[in-house]
């Protein structure tokens, strides 16, 4: 800690930071543009100017840029000095020279950092009286709207997009006051993180195109804290609502999880809630019914009344509460997790590895701070996108640590990049085919999953001889294993990343072995496993039988009635099997929010609330339980799945359900049911939590639509809807002061209307949220004396004559069920294909775009060929989950025919 004097008051601040950061952490106001807590300082905008004095007697002082000045003990500065204020106002005036002042029609208006800073500096009247320079805008794809005239050239967009996220197609073009931020030619932005431009850009140059479809002023959005439902990482989000529709997603800062950023699937996938595939009314025997909740539940319960052979199939994309309700209804012995045998096995294996330790499950933040990374089997960009971004930061850590001797402050971003040039820390990547992260890796290994596992085992053995050795490894792989082991061993914080996407137990075990081998001799290592869906980990906690058993049960008549919760079975099992199963079910009851093939012939379909319309709890891949809250009030017939199940249970006279009046009741019941979990943990404040006897508002104080909101019907302000499930109110009324971090429904602070106000919610800039980051980690393995090693080393991959080995490939846009139904995302979903390298294609006598017949076990599909030269010989890639794709149990051998 050092003491600094700001306008003659003394403050204690943390060393090693820059003055701007320190000032903002103290809660003082100092305007800025080019600085960003995650991107560091470059000193371009000159907005953060203050006066620095030599000593107490210095009355003149020097103008300095706070963001470029390290804090020093005893330093004296003034924010308020007239010279500094005047200069800061001039900066705004310059920025306004070419700015169009189109706030009234600008999407950013009301949440605009430029507006905030303009007010903060006190600049009012612009003296510039000449013509403004104008630019042309570009089409940048379905996500981002481009309005270059609003640009103030802070360079943040390219610094995020290019420098931080590794994108290449958004650049700074031209020079002087012609500088232009865009692409060489217009076209779809190629980065999976482009949506962050919306928040990174301090004005309305890059805005959310999906929000633009529902033009609204930002202060008229109601929002609620939520958790992303589009992969297992559980990024924290804010859902914005207008006229009972979800209209946008913003990042919700959580230092341990997603920090300041999120991926495009997470940001734009929400549009599935507005898709025309939504189930909005109960459907009985194919007929849409205008029932209310009670009659829909009654009618459904009739289907179950005389039945004893009822089973329930849960879902990894449904909340803990929904799964738990179903499990309670049908009983543990009739509950199926919704996962195939393989999926169940892999998810539970991961859970047990994490629980057993000693390697800790790493959060996204932990990955960002790691200094050596080894990825086994995961194409992170497409299976767990934010891990891609985290790894891109991690690979800078080792070289940055190394240069501390030449005293370049970590926040001095451009200086560090210039010094390091392309130097990268150790990062190794083993996957079957090319990934977008390849270019950042020190080495990549292209192989079948079993060979990837063997490399992992070999690395573990190189780290600890007592771990099993791999026989018959080629020399070059042995050398690579040794190199990787050496790099991991030398790291202060190595991290292993693997997951379920290769659907290989061997890969998962191999990663565990490496992590365990690293955790010897007081060393520590982190481990991350990715899972397929937002609550896959929750499913692993809850248990349940394999899907295959459900198929058997129906086949052999032990079950005839099936309740399917938020799941499309065709994504988890072979088509012919599912077809047969569904046909054989006497009664099929579906509770879901999107129509799909599974629900097509159901006897009853109940309209469930999607994430934006309900509350619930999820467990992410790290084992962090997190709560998501309802942002909008849908048609009353839509309710959370657990409520439908509860209502049916009540109709069936099941007394348990009567206690589940609100979310808290069932949440508590879930926690109580989980083995080894302290049921007292608080995921979020309970519904009766109040501050000064007030609820916490979802709408900001600036909300204008109270009486005009339904002006087409009535100008009387309607009573806000009740929310029995949370302390959040559907209105602007309520406690306006600091709220618990898990209840942050928007970021706002006096003078800070943009997302930059997040600094006011943090204990210090870029630090934890006040009151602690939300979410509770369920898995904290202790130190284990002697870790057990897995020993089942697979044999090396052996190709088969006339057959191919099919491995799964993933697409950020396309492989995930929900976001595929989002309008903007669906534009980027590729057509299904079969991938082969050129040699393999030639051998088979096929070329690019030829249609071929693929047969894997019983399943068959016809696909066009795509040449993917990074795939090894004899290995073919099948994209997972694309529309029109069937499910295959991969990896597996199969045949390709013309």
């Amino acid at each position: 800690m050092v003491t600094i004097y700001i306008d003659d008051k003394s403050y204690e601040v943390e060393k090693g930071q820059n003055l701007l950061q320190a000032v903002l952490s103290l809660g003082l106001n100092l305007p800025y543009f080019c600085w960003h807590p995650a991107l560091g300082s470059v000193g371009a905008c000159r907005q953060c100017a203050v006066i620095q004095y030599r000593d107490e007697d210095d009355k003149e002082g020097n103008l300095i840029m706070a963001c470029m000045q390290p804090v020093q003990d005893g330093m004296r500065i003034s924010i308020e000095a007239a010279a500094a204020r005047k200069f800061r106002a001039s900066i705004i005036e310059w920025l306004m020279v070419n700015h169009p002042h189109d706030c009234p029609v600008c999407d950013e208006g009301g949440e605009c950092h430029l507006q905030d800073m303009t007010v903060m500096t006190g600049h009012n009247y612009r003296k510039f009286r000449f013509k403004k320079r104008t630019h042309r805008n570009q089409y940048l794809g379905p996500f981002i709207n481009h309005e270059m005239n609003r640009c103030i050239a802070c360079y943040r967009c390219v610094r995020f997009y290019r420098d931080y996220a590794g994108g290449k197609d958004l650049q700074d073009m031209a020079s002087h006051d012609y500088v232009y931020f865009g692409r060489s030619e217009e076209g779809i932005l190629q980065s999976e993180f482009s949506g962050n431009l919306v928040e990174v850009c301090p004005t309305g140059v890059f805005t959310d195109k999906t929000l633009k479809k529902h033009y609204t002023r930002k202060w008229d959005l109601q929002s609620a804290p939520s958790v992303c439902h589009h992969c297992s990482l559980g990024c924290n989000t804010l859902v914005g609502e207008r006229y009972n529709k979800a209209v946008r997603i913003l990042n919700r800062y959580n230092r341990r999880v997603n920090g300041y950023f999120m991926c495009d699937r997470g940001r734009f996938g929400y549009e599935f809630t507005n898709s025309n595939k939504r189930i909005r009314k109960p459907i009985f025997e194919g007929k849409v019914e205008d029932f209310d909740r009670d009659s829909a539940a009654a009618k459904t319960s009739e289907l179950l009344k005389d039945r004893s052979k009822v089973i329930g199939i849960g879902s990894p994309r449904a909340s803990l509460e929904a799964n738990f309700a179903l499990k309670s209804m049908v009983g543990e012995h009739n509950f199926y997790s919704g996962l195939s045998a393989r999926e169940n096995k892999l998810a539970r294996k991961i859970l047990s590895i994490l629980r057993n330790g000693p390697a800790r499950p790493a959060s996204l933040h932990d990955v960002e701070t790691a200094d050596a990374v080894f990825v086994l089997g995961e194409d992170l960009t497409n299976t767990a996108p934010m891990l891609d971004l985290a790894v891109k930061q991690a690979i800078r850590n080792k070289p940055i640590d190394d240069i501390q001797q030449i005293h370049i402050d970590r926040w001095n971003d451009a200086a560090i990049r210039e010094y390091l040039q392309d130097e990268k820390g150790p990062f190794y990547l083993a996957t079957p085919s090319w990934t977008k992260l390849d270019e950042f890796a020190a080495k990549t290994y292209r192989a079948a999953p079993d060979d990837i596992a063997r490399l992992g085992y070999a690395v573990a053995h190189a780290l600890d001889e007592s771990s099993p050795a791999v026989e018959g490894l080629p020399d070059e792989i042995k050398t690579m294993a040794e190199e990787i082991a050496g790099a991991l061993k030398n790291a202060r914080q190595p991290v292993l990343i693997s997951g379920m996407s290769m659907r290989s137990e061997a890969v998962i075990e191999a990663a565990a072995n490496v992590a365990r081998a690293l955790c010897r001799d007081d060393r520590k290592a982190d481990i991350v496993y990715t899972l397929p869906e937002c609550n896959s980990m929750g499913t692993a906690f809850l248990g349940g039988y394999d899907l295959e058993k459900a198929f058997e049960d129906v086949e052999n008549g032990t079950a005839d009635t099936v309740i399917i919760l938020e799941s499309d079975l065709y994504r988890h099992a072979d088509k012919t099997q599912v077809d047969k199963f569904l046909e054989k079910c006497a009664n099929l009851i579906v509770v879901d929010y999107l129509k799909n093939r599974t629900s097509e012939g159901a006897s009853a379909i109940l309209p469930a609330a999607a994430f934006a319309e309900g509350d619930g709890t999820l467990i992410n891949n790290e084992g962090r339980v997190q709560r998501f809250f309802q942002a909008l009030n849908p048609d009353p017939i839509l309710q959370e799945s657990w409520r439908w199940i509860r209502d049916i249970m009540i109709k069936l006279d099941d007394k348990k359900a009567e206690k589940w009046k609100a979310l808290d009741d069932i949440s508590d019941a879930v926690l109580n049911s989980l083995e080894g979990i302290n049921p007292k943990i608080e995921i979020a404040p309970s519904a009766n939590f109040r501050i000064n006897e007030q609820k916490i508002p979802r709408a900001p104080m600036r909300y204008s639509g109270r009486t005009a909101m339904y002006a087409d019907k009535s100008v009387h302000e309607p009573k806000p809807p009740d929310d029995p499930d949370s302390p959040l109110s559907f209105s602007m009324e309520g406690f306006a002061g600091p709220r618990p971090s898990s209840l942050i429904s928007f970021f706002w602070a006096p003078g800070w209307n943009s997302v930059q106000s997040v600094a006011r919610y943090q204990q210090e800039v870029a630090g934890e949220l006040k009151g602690g980051d939300p979410g509770v980690r369920l898995i904290e393995p202790g130190d284990h004396a002697k870790p057990e090693y897995f020993k089942t080393i697979p044999d090396a991959f052996k190709p088969r004559q006339d057959e191919f080995y099919f491995v799964p490939l993933y697409h950020i846009f396309g492989s995930e069920e929900l976001s595929n139904e989002a309008e903007a995302v669906s534009e980027l979903v590729p057509d299904a294909y079969l991938a082969l390298n050129k040699r393999s294609a030639e051998k088979t006598g096929v070329s690019s775009r030829d249609k071929v017949k693929v047969s894997i076990k019983d399943g068959q599909i016809s696909l066009p060929v795509k040449i993917m030269n990074s795939l090894p010989d004899n290995i073919a890639g099948i994209p997972v989950g694309l529309p029109g794709m069937n499910y295959f149990e991969l990896p597996a051998f199969g045949k390709i025919a013309k």
Partner: protein, 154 residues
């Protein structure tokens, strides 16, 4: 497609350059030497050859004033508009050039022969006013001298 000669010249640069990025400006100049200007297509070919993104390349190409991203004529007349030349009669010289060629600044003659542009100080202020055509510098310009120079190039 880049010509063999262009590739050879670029390879020559690559041979002694510590990074690929470092040859970018030289490579753009090589393209320009062979094709007068750097068209969108040339830029794409070059990006492919250097294995870098088109956008990153254009970021550099559009920064430098002597990389022409618009088509220019056979001879590019760059007339110095900086202070010493301006004092010494830049306006007269420019007017004469415009009249003689029948074009304004930034334009190319109909026959594609000449493009007229300005350039900052050429470093021959002792012989102001000055201009540069095809990298040949001409100082002490007068209307007569200009006629002589241009006529020779016609």
């Amino acid at each position: 497609m880049l010509s063999e000669e262009e590739k050879k010249e670029i390879d020559q640069e690559l041979s002694h350059s510590p990074t690929r990025q470092a040859v970018v400006i030289e490579a753009l100049k090589i393209i320009q030497r062979h094709r007068r200007w750097v068209s969108d297509d040339s830029l794409k070919d070059l990006a492919e050859y250097l294995e870098m993104s088109l956008d990153a390349l254009d970021s550099v190409a559009t920064f430098y004033s002597l990389i022409f991203r618009r088509e220019v004529g056979e001879h590019v007349i760059l007339i110095c508009d900086s202070v010493s030349c301006w004092i010494m009669g830049y306006d007269t010289v420019l007017d004469h050039l415009k009249k003689k060629l029948g074009i304004d600044l930034g334009e190319t003659t109909a026959d594609g022969k000449f493009t007229l542009l300005t350039i900052p100080c050429l470093g021959v202020c002792e012989r102001a006013p000055a201009m540069i055509i095809d990298r040949e510098t001409y100082g002490d310009l007068t209307p007569e001298r200009i006629d002589e120079i241009i006529d020779k190039l016609k």
